[in-house]
Symmetry: C2
Subunit: 467 residues, 2 copies
C-alpha cells in the first residue's frame, strides 16, 4: 500500500477551509454560551472507540469540529470572558504560530535554525525596552531572555537554578523558598517538583502584599534553625487579587541573605508597556529572574512565557549537557546562543514568530491602547460596585481585575457567581480568602468592550439580592 499524502495544493485548499472556519468562529463566538454545558463523558461518547484504519476525508473532520468539539469548548475568546486571566489569541498571533507550524523547525541549537534563535533573542531584547526592564537583561548584556512554556515552568526553573548554585553548600532537604501567601500555586508546585521541601507563605498587609519584615523574620528564623533560605518570589499582580509585592524591599532582604529573587509578573507584566504602571515594579535591579506571559494579556496565543535572567551564567551552568550528536562548530565558537541550555526540554518551537507578528501588527501604541481600555473598564466597574450598598471590593484595582463580594456574605456571593456563570453571557471566577468568598472579574479579553462590561453589570444588578 502507498502512503496517501497531501500535496501542497491539498494543504492550500483545506487550509483555506480552516481559516474560514476560524474566521466564522471568531465572528460568532459572542453568540455562544461562554461556558460549555456538556456533562462529563459526553464528548467521548461521540467519538468512535478505535482510531480509523483507513484515511478519512478532511470534510468529515471539519464537520466534527462543529458536531463534537465546539459544544465541549468553554470559550476563552468570548468577549464575556471575565474568568481566570485572559488568554491571548489575537489574529496576528494565530497566523504567526501558523507560520511556525508550517516551517516545522526545532531550534534547540542556533545551528538547527539560526533565525529561530536570533529572532527570539531579538524580540526578547525589544521587550526589555518596551517594559523598561534593566538593560543588562538583554542578550547583548550579561543576562538574557528566553521563551518558556509557562510561568510555572519559569518559576520551577528559577528554583532549580538557585538549588543547583547552592548544591555544594547545603542539602536540598534544608532549603526553603518564600513567597507571599497570596502567590500563585506554581510556587508551591515548582518547589515540590524541584525537591525543595520547605515553602514559607509570608504574611501580607491590608492590600494583600507581602510584608517585608515578615519575610526577613522568616529568613532569620530558618537560618537560626539551620535551614538554608534559597529563593524568594515577589509577585507583581497576584492571581487572586492582583496584589503587588514590594519588589525593592524584598530584593534588598534577598541580597542581604543571598537568596535568589524571582519576580512573577505573569499577568501584570504586560501593563508595563505603559509608563504609568512601572512604579509597581520598582527595584528590578535587585532581581535575578523575571517572568511574564505574553500569552495572557499581550495578545499572543499559548504558549509564550517570557523569562529573563540578570546573569545567564548560572542558568546555563545548571542546564547544559553536551552529547556528541549535538556538537557543532557554531556552538563551539562561543558566538551563538543555544537555547536548549536555557530550559528543561531539548526540543523547542519557533515561538518568537508569533510574538514578532503581534508586536508589529499592533505596535507598542496598540498594546498600550488595549491595556488602558481594559484598565478603564475595570475601574468603571469597580466604581459602580463601590457605590452600590450591596457590594464591597475585596482589594484595590491596580490593573484590570476587579474583586468583590456581596455584603450579605458567602452564600449570597457564591450564588451570585453561579447565577452569572449560568447566564451564558459571562464567565467569572468564584474564589475565596480567609475573609470569605469573593468574585473575580478579570477584564482582558481582546474583544471585550464597554457593552460587555455593561452586560455583566446588568446581570450583577439583576441577580444580586438586597443588602
Amino acid at each position: 500500500m502507498t502512503f496517501p499524502d497531501w500535496t501542497p495544493d491539498d494543504f492550500r485548499r483545506h487550509g483555506h477551509q480552516v481559516v474560514d472556519w476560524i474566521a466564522d468562529y471568531l465572528a460568532r463566538v459572542e453568540e455562544l454560551p461562554v461556558v460549555s454545558r456538556v456533562e462529563p463523558g459526553e464528548i467521548r461518547a461521540m467519538l468512535p472507540p478505535r482510531a480509523p484504519e483507513e484515511a478519512e476525508a478532511f470534510d468529515a473532520i471539519l464537520a466534527d469540529l462543529d458536531r463534537v468539539i465546539v459544544p465541549g469548548v468553554t470559550h476563552w475568546q468570548h468577549p464575556g470572558w471575565f474568568a481566570y486571566f485572559p488568554t491571548g489569541a489575537s489574529p496576528p498571533s494565530i497566523l504567526g504560530d501558523l507560520v511556525s507550524s508550517g516551517l516545522g523547525v526545532v531550534g534547540f541549537l542556533w545551528a538547527t535554525s539560526p533565525a529561530a534563535t536570533e529572532l527570539e533573542s531579538h524580540v526578547m531584547d525589544w521587550l526589555v525596552d518596551l517594559l523598561d526592564l534593566p538593560q543588562g537583561w538583554k542578550t547583548t548584556g550579561p543576562g538574557g531572555g528566553v521563551i518558556q512554556m509557562s510561568a510555572s515552568d519559569a518559576t520551577h526553573l528559577a528554583f532549580v537554578v538557585a538549588r543547583h548554585r547552592m548544591r555544594e553548600t547545603a542539602p536540598v532537604e534544608r532549603m526553603v523558598v518564600y513567597s507571599s501567601r497570596e502567590a500563585h500555586s506554581s510556587v508551591e508546585k515548582g518547589a515540590r517538583v524541584a525537591g525543595v521541601p520547605h515553602v514559607r507563605p509570608v504574611a501580607v498587609d491590608g492590600e494583600l502584599a507581602m510584608v517585608p519584615a515578615a519575610f526577613e523574620a522568616a529568613v532569620v528564623a530558618d537560618l537560626e534553625a539551620g535551614r538554608t533560605p534559597l529563593a524568594v518570589v515577589s509577585t507583581v499582580g497576584t492571581t487572586g487579587t492582583t496584589a503587588i509585592d514590594p519588589v525593592r524591599a524584598v530584593g534588598q532582604i534577598a541580597r542581604r541573605h543571598g537568596l535568589w529573587h524571582h519576580v512573577d509578573a505573569a499577568y501584570a507584566g504586560t501593563a508595563m508597556v505603559c509608563p504609568e504602571f512601572r512604579h509597581h515594579q520598582d527595584g528590578l535591579e535587585l532581581v535575578d529572574s523575571y517572568v511574564f506571559n505574553p500569552h495572557k494579556w499581550m495578545l499572543t496565543n499559548f504558549d509564550c512565557s517570557a523569562f529573563w535572567v540578570a546573569d545567564r551564567r548560572p542558568l546555563i551552568e545548571a542546564m547544559s549537557i553536551l552529547p556528541p550528536y549535538l556538537r557543532n562548530a557554531a556552538s563551539e565558537s562561543g558566538q551563538v546562543i543555544d537555547y536548549r541550555d536555557w530550559h528543561v526540554p531539548l526540543g523547542r518551537r519557533f515561538r518568537a514568530l508569533k510574538l514578532w507578528f503581534v508586536l508589529r501588527s499592533y505596535g507598542a501604541e496598540g498594546i498600550r491602547a488595549m491595556v488602558r481600555r481594559h484598565v478603564e473598564l475595570a475601574r468603571g466597574l469597580a466604581d459602580r460596585l463601590e457605590s452600590d450598598p450591596r457590594f464591597e471590593l475585596v482589594a484595590p484595582v491596580p490593573f484590570s481585575l476587579v474583586t468583590f463580594r456581596h455584603v450579605a456574605g458567602d452564600r449570597a456571593t457564591d450564588e451570585l457567581a453561579a447565577g452569572l456563570n449560568a447566564s451564558g453571557d459571562v464567565y467569572v471566577t468564584p474564589s475565596h480568602l480567609d475573609s470569605g468568598s469573593f468574585i473575580r472579574v478579570s477584564i482582558g479579553q481582546r474583544t471585550t468592550e464597554a457593552r460587555h462590561v455593561e452586560r455583566l453589570w446588568q446581570l450583577i444588578d439583576e441577580l444580586a439580592p438586597p443588602a
Copy 2:
C-alpha cells in the same frame, strides 16, 4: 487612541495569504539548501533595534518572512533531511494546530474546556490500541495517557514522581538513576533538574543495548554503599544508533529492587503501529511510564509528546496542588480528569486536536505505509554501504536510522559528513562513539522518497575517498 484590532474578515484575508505562503513553501522547500548558510548575527542585523511604536501592515510582515526569516531557516521539512530525527509537520497536523490556536482555550481543568480533556484522553487511549501498549494504560483503567511538551519533560517528570514516592524513605542526595550509556542526554539532564545527583551509565553489548547483568550489578553496588536506586530508563531506539534495551529483563530487575521503570521510545514508538516491530518492546507490563513523540515520526508537529503511566495515582499525588481559584464542581465530583495534575505547567494547549487530525487523515494504514517505506529505504541504503569496501555499518538497522563510517577512519568520516552537509541537498548528523566518528542518516521525513536517498548515496559515493 483606539485599539486598532483586526476584524474576523481581516483574519480571513491574511489567513488565506499565510496558507498560500506555507503551501508555496512546502512546494519549493526541496529547491532550498537544507542547511541555512547565514553567519552568527546576520539575521539580527536585518531587524530594527526597537519594536515599532505604530502598527505595521501585514504585507510588510509577510514580505519579511522571505527577506529575513527563510534565509536563516534550516529546513527540517526538506526531503533531504537525514539529520537528528525527523520532526513531523504534516499538512493535517498543521491545520489541527491552527484550529487549536483559533479556539485559544487552555484546558488545565476539565471544566475550562471539556472537549480539550476528553479528546486528549480519547486519542491517547486510541494510541494504546494502535501501538499495542498494555490495556491498563488507558484512562479508563488504572493508568492513563497525557500529552507532554517533550520527551525530556516526560523523563524528568518520571524521575520527579519516583523521587516524590520515595521522599520519606531516603534523602535525594543518595538517590541513583540508571540508563544505558547510550541513553539520551535528557536522562542526565532530567536527573540533574530533579536534583538526583547520581546517574549510572550502564555498559552496553555489541549492539549497544543495555547489559541487564551490568545494570543489576550497579544496583547491588549502590545498595551496598547505602545509596537508593530510584529509577531506570530503558531506551527503545537510542538517539545515537537506535539500539534497543531489553525492556523485559530491565523490568524484572527494576521490580526486584523497587525501581521506577521508564521507557524512552521517543523516536521508535511510532514504529509500533506495525506489528512486526512490537517484539522490540516486549515486557511493557513491567513498565511504570512510557514516552514516545508523535512530533518525531508520527506526522504531528512539535510539541506533542505522548506519555503514559501504568498507575496514575503516584503521578497525581506528586503533581496536585489545589488553590481556591481552581476549585470547581466537576473536579470535586471525581468524575473527570484535570490534566494540570499530570505535568509541571498549569496552562496547556489543546494539542489533542492535531493528533486527532493526523490519525484520521492518514488512518492507521497510512502511518504504517509511511513507516514501512522509510524502513525499506534505510535497509536499502544500509545494504549499499555494507557492500562497498569503503564503508562499514556502526550498528544494526532495526528501524530507519543508518549509522556508518569510512573505513579510513575519523578524518575521512568527518570530512565526508562535512562534504555531504555542504552540498545543500542533504543534511546528516556527524557523531561519535568510543570506537570513533560516524555518520547518522535518519530517514523519516514525510516527503522523503527513493530518489532522495538515491541522491544521498550518489553524494556519498562521489565524496568518499577510496578505502
